[in-house]
């Protein structure tokens, strides 16, 4: 229980640079970049220390009383670190990418300021030690991402921002009601392994079910559960690094992660099962998975297609959570990481196509693999991973979800997984076919960055997607290795099911 400041430092390591960046003049590019990267690296350092500690059974808790009975708790346990590491690593890459992407664009101080705030909020969401703290960072996330969504300032962006706010704030309100209600019922609800609500008297069951509904509805907005997903495809008008972060780490993951916390560490998986909450959740997730994929099928806009794909993919996490049994848990948790890596790759690449050649639509992508082979390679890895092709990351998730579904006695989930994979293939493979196998149509819509020697586009735009694509391969290929997302998820699952595993 020592080192209570470590979690706080992790939060501060992006908060402080962010706040400073706000007030830097536009022209202080070098200082801004230094601040950003220093923050990202320092954060990674702290996280590394905590990873080591948690692996060896330590936990880091920072507690501050806001009001009597209302504590702000930052708690670095294994589950938190899974998400924290993901966001910290991807933050680093996204920052690099954003520096390249926004070169010469206006309002960069504002952009990077909110960007850092966004990561701060994500890290906070990850390490929140109780529902109140979670809610705090959850709402901060809404506020920090709004300026990023409307960053371009076009009418479309403003409208998307409008819708985004309407959805997320309403969701936040539901979450707040649920939280307050739960606090009234059970007192301060800390996140603990196995949950803490099973101690309540049985009369409270009805209320608890209602609260669960409220909490999931509130979290489901960000996790884009159908029919609460409407904001997500619109929000993709944001600049590519933002979309990448939004879809891969920050917003949708915050929702999904919240569901993880609520099910495992507020209610406790066994208790949730006994309240008959898991099956409806699994059904909701399944509907989302299928619906998102179906919608993605009909999008010509590349980013929109990716956005609907996110709707579908994030619900894998929820589905994993809803499967009672450690294997399903592992599948859901590991997908939290895997989906992030894969989706960020895809969005990076979509951004590269748009920035380099002005390609925004799938129908404009004919033959792009010849012009931008590296980007398209990264894109292909991400897309194949999404489909669940081994040995890429997505396969590992799907495998464990499938095994988990059987363990939980819900074999119909296999059909959902299979259908979704087929749909994924149906909307991703035509893109790959166009990019690799079709001849280019002659000229690109708007070629902005010419080929320069080996570099098909700006180096800072190319390196991040390649790195994350490599990670997509590595996390899948070396899933069995120590410190891989999978083995970490196993560690978590073992701790969550301590009481249950025979």
């Amino acid at each position: 229980m020592s080192d209570p400041w470590l979690p706080a430092l992790v939060v501060l390591s992006s908060l402080l640079p962010g706040l400073i960046i706000f007030f830097l003049a536009e022209s202080r590019i070098r200082l801004r970049t230094t601040l950003n990267l220093t923050g990202a690296l320092v954060k990674l350092g702290f996280i590394g220390v905590m990873l080591w500690g948690v692996q060896n059974g330590r936990e880091y808790v920072f507690r501050h009383t806001v009001l009597p009975g209302l504590d702000l708790v930052l708690h670095a346990d294994a589950l938190a670190l899974l998400f924290v590491s993901l966001s910290a690593v991807l933050w680093l890459f996204t920052t690099l990418y954003a520096i390249g992407y926004l070169e010469g664009a206006p309002n960069r101080s504002r952009f990077f300021g909110f960007f850092s705030l966004c990561v701060t909020a994500t890290v906070g969401v990850a390490m929140a030690g109780n529902l109140f703290t979670f809610f705090l960072f959850y709402e901060l996330l809404t506020l920090a991402t709004y300026p990023l969504v409307v960053h371009r300032g076009t009418d479309k962006a403003l409208r998307a921002g409008h819708v985004y706010l309407a959805y997320t704030l309403a969701g936040g309100a539901l979450l707040l009601i649920g939280t307050v209600w739960l606090y009234g019922l059970a007192g301060q609800v800390d996140f603990v392994h196995g949950g803490s609500l099973s101690a309540l008297p049985p009369e409270a069951a009805g209320q608890l079910q209602l609260i669960f509904l409220l909490l999931i509805a509130g979290l489901g907005v960000k996790a884009a559960l159908v029919p609460l997903h409407g904001w997500l495809p619109m929000a993709m008008v944001a600049p590519a690094p933002v979309s990448a972060l939004l879809h891969a780490v920050a917003v949708v993951k915050a929702g999904a992660f919240g569901i993880v916390r609520v099910v495992y560490e507020v209610y406790g998986i066994e208790f949730a099962q006994s309240l008959a909450l898991l099956l409806p959740l699994a059904i909701a997730a399944s509907i989302t998975i299928i619906w998102g994929s179906l919608r993605a099928l009909f999008q010509d806009d590349l980013k929109k297609r990716l956005a609907y794909s996110t709707v579908s993919q994030v619900s894998y996490i929820v589905l994993g959570v809803a499967l009672f049994g450690p294997l399903g848990t592992m599948g859901g948790l590991v997908h939290l990481v895997h989906q992030g890596i894969m989706k960020i790759t895809l969005f990076f690449c979509a951004g590269n196509y748009a920035e380099t050649l002005g390609i925004h639509k799938v129908s404009e992508m004919d033959g792009v693999g010849r012009r931008m082979p590296w980007t398209t390679l990264a894109f292909s890895l991400g897309a194949l991973g999404m489909i669940g092709v081994p040995p890429l990351a997505g396969f590992v998730s799907k495998w464990y979800l499938g095994v988990g579904a059987l363990e939980a006695g819900m074999p119909w989930v296999l059909a959902v997984l299979a259908a979704s994979s087929l749909l994924n293939a149906a909307y991703f493979l035509p893109i790959l076919h166009r990019a690799w196998f079709k001849p280019a149509s002659g000229s690109w819509p708007d070629e902005k960055i010419p080929q320069r020697g080996r570099w098909e586009t700006a180096p800072l735009l190319l390196i991040p997607p390649l790195a994350t694509a490599a990670a997509t391969l590595a996390t899948g290929l070396f899933a069995g290795a120590a410190f891989s997302p999978l083995s970490w998820a196993e560690l978590i699952a073992v701790r969550e099911y301590l009481a249950w595993i025979p």
């Binding site: 009001l67 309002n107 101080s109 504002r110 809610f135 705090l136 409008h162 309403a170």
Partner: protein, 486 residues
């Protein structure tokens, strides 16, 4: 000697003194004097708060005379909280006003004297121990506030001041009538004397008095539907004035309503009456928010936001009336927290608004483009203040909402939950209406000038305080509990 150093009288004497001196010294030196003096007042208020936490509520007899002919001052936790709020809002605003009036000098001569009297009246009101003394402070407060509204001159502000004056006079008239009825019944106006005397079976005159005083206070607090005077008055005055009025003046009358309801007339209160107040509060929240959304002028938007936020304060009445003590305590804490948070946030918001108007040269939401790029700190302050008003964590507004929501759910009055949540969403809608505009690039032909640093930083300090309140609210609640244990 210890008597001489007691903070209680000085909290009233100091602003009176510097207000008068500022009249003589003129705005430049007067302003500097005011900043120094308010800082001192702040220190005194802190000292008082420390004393109260250490040794509990206490009474101070002015000049050693004591009641009934002398004047008593009384300080408990609630009063100390309000005093702290007053000084905490006033200090940054004084700094702000110096910058503001340097940039836009209309009305600067009279600002400092009126502000001095206003603060004196506020401090005195919070410390008063008898009903008549409260009447005097109420009147002084009203007159100083009306004067402040009118200082900039011009048709619209003077009209608003005139309307405000009549409203406030009617309110004080009703209060005084209530005082007369009480004195007629019990022969005393001292709160300490009266509180044990009033019980459930009190004569009709007392009920009448209670109703009159309460109705007068509601009029002065601008609770819906008596908010008609507020938006023009707050929206028309110079920014530091709007900030003072919205943050503090209406809180004073709310404070009185709270004291009457929870202490003096507590035996008379009924659930039905409390629900009526709650309904008016709910209506204020919805009505004020919707009207804020329809405004095209920035300051009017903020003023209507005040109308809405006042509504939250009154939700405390149904939540604290005839419910289990724990629930009532948390409702009270929530209400007071809301008053404090709103005070800080609204002051910040008006200050930021003033900076934006100074920078763009006009009071028009649709012309805010470029503000975000040129005045990031100001816009940030506006946003932080907005966070508090929306009730998002971590802010004082959130803590308030948390406590109120908690007591609403505990007492089974879920309908207030709905109101609060919807109100929060509407607040978000109008706050973002401004932020969204300000993020846009500057339109061709518009200008966005720089403003003095003091304007930006003082607004930021207020906004930051409203946020920090959410993180460090526990001591405030501890202070609030002083004198309420019984």
């Amino acid at each position: 000697m210890t008597d001489f150093l007691d903070p209680l009288p000085w909290l009233i004497m100091l602003p009176l003194a510097w207000g008068t001196l500022a009249f003589v010294l003129g705005p430049g030196r007067g302003g500097r004097l005011a900043v120094a003096a308010i800082a001192l007042q702040g220190a005194l208020a802190l000292q008082l708060a420390g004393q109260l936490i250490d040794s509990g509520a206490r009474v101070y007899a002015v000049g050693g005379w004591g009641a009934p002919l002398g004047i008593d001052l009384m300080a408990d936790g609630l009063a100390a909280v309000m005093l702290l709020l007053t000084q905490a809002v006033a200090l940054p605003l004084a700094v702000y006003a110096r910058g503001y009036f340097a940039a836009s000098p209309k009305g600067r001569e009279l600002f400092w004297p009126f502000t001095g009297f206003l603060l004196a009246a506020l401090n005195a009101l919070f410390l008063s121990a008898d009903l008549f003394n409260i009447y005097v402070t109420l009147e002084l407060l009203g007159l100083a506030a009306v004067g402040l509204v009118a200082i900039a001159g011009g048709r619209q502000p003077v009209t608003a001041a005139m309307r405000y004056l009549f409203a406030t006079l009617l309110g004080s008239g009703a209060w005084l009538l209530g005082v007369a009825l009480i004195y007629g019944t019990y022969g005393s106006v001292s709160l300490a004397v009266l509180t044990p005397l009033i019980h459930a079976g009190a004569p009709l005159a007392v009920t009448l008095a209670a109703a009159l005083m309460l109705a007068g206070l509601l009029l002065k607090t601008a609770l819906f539907p008596f908010h008609f005077w507020l938006p023009p008055a707050h929206g028309g005055a110079p920014a530091p004035v709007s900030a003072l009025l919205s943050a503090l003046v209406i809180k004073a009358t709310f404070y009185l309503a709270l004291r009457l309801w929870l202490e003096l007339f507590a035996p008379l209160t009924t659930v039905a009456a409390a629900q009526l107040l709650g309904v008016l509060g709910a209506a204020a929240i919805l009505w004020g928010s919707v009207l804020a959304l329809t405004q095209s002028r920035l300051k009017m938007l903020v003023a209507y936001s005040t109308v809405a936020q006042v509504g939250y304060l009154f939700l405390l009445f149904p939540l604290a009336t005839l419910v289990p003590p724990g629930t009532a305590d948390s409702a009270l804490a929530g209400g007071v927290m809301q008053a404090v948070a709103h005070g800080l946030a609204k002051a910040a918001m008006f200050a930021a608004t003033g900076s934006m108007i100074v920078a763009t040269g006009r009071d028009d939401i649709s012309r805010l483009g470029g503000v975000g790029a040129r005045l990031p700190l100001t816009l940030f302050s506006f946003g932080l203040a907005g966070v508090t008003l929306m009730g998002l964590p971590p802010s004082g507004g959130f803590s308030a909402k948390w406590l109120l929501l908690g007591s609403a759910l505990e007492s089974g009055q879920w309908w207030w939950v709905v109101v609060m949540i919807v109100g929060g969403l509407l607040t978000a809608a109008y706050v973002f209406k401004v932020l969204r505009r300000a993020f846009l690039p500057r339109a061709a032909g518009d200008r966005v000038a720089r403003v003095p640093r003091t304007l930006e930083f003082s607004a930021f300090a207020l906004a930051l305080a409203s946020i920090l309140l959410g993180l460090f609210g526990a001591p405030l609640l501890e202070l609030l509990a002083v004198g309420r244990e019984a």
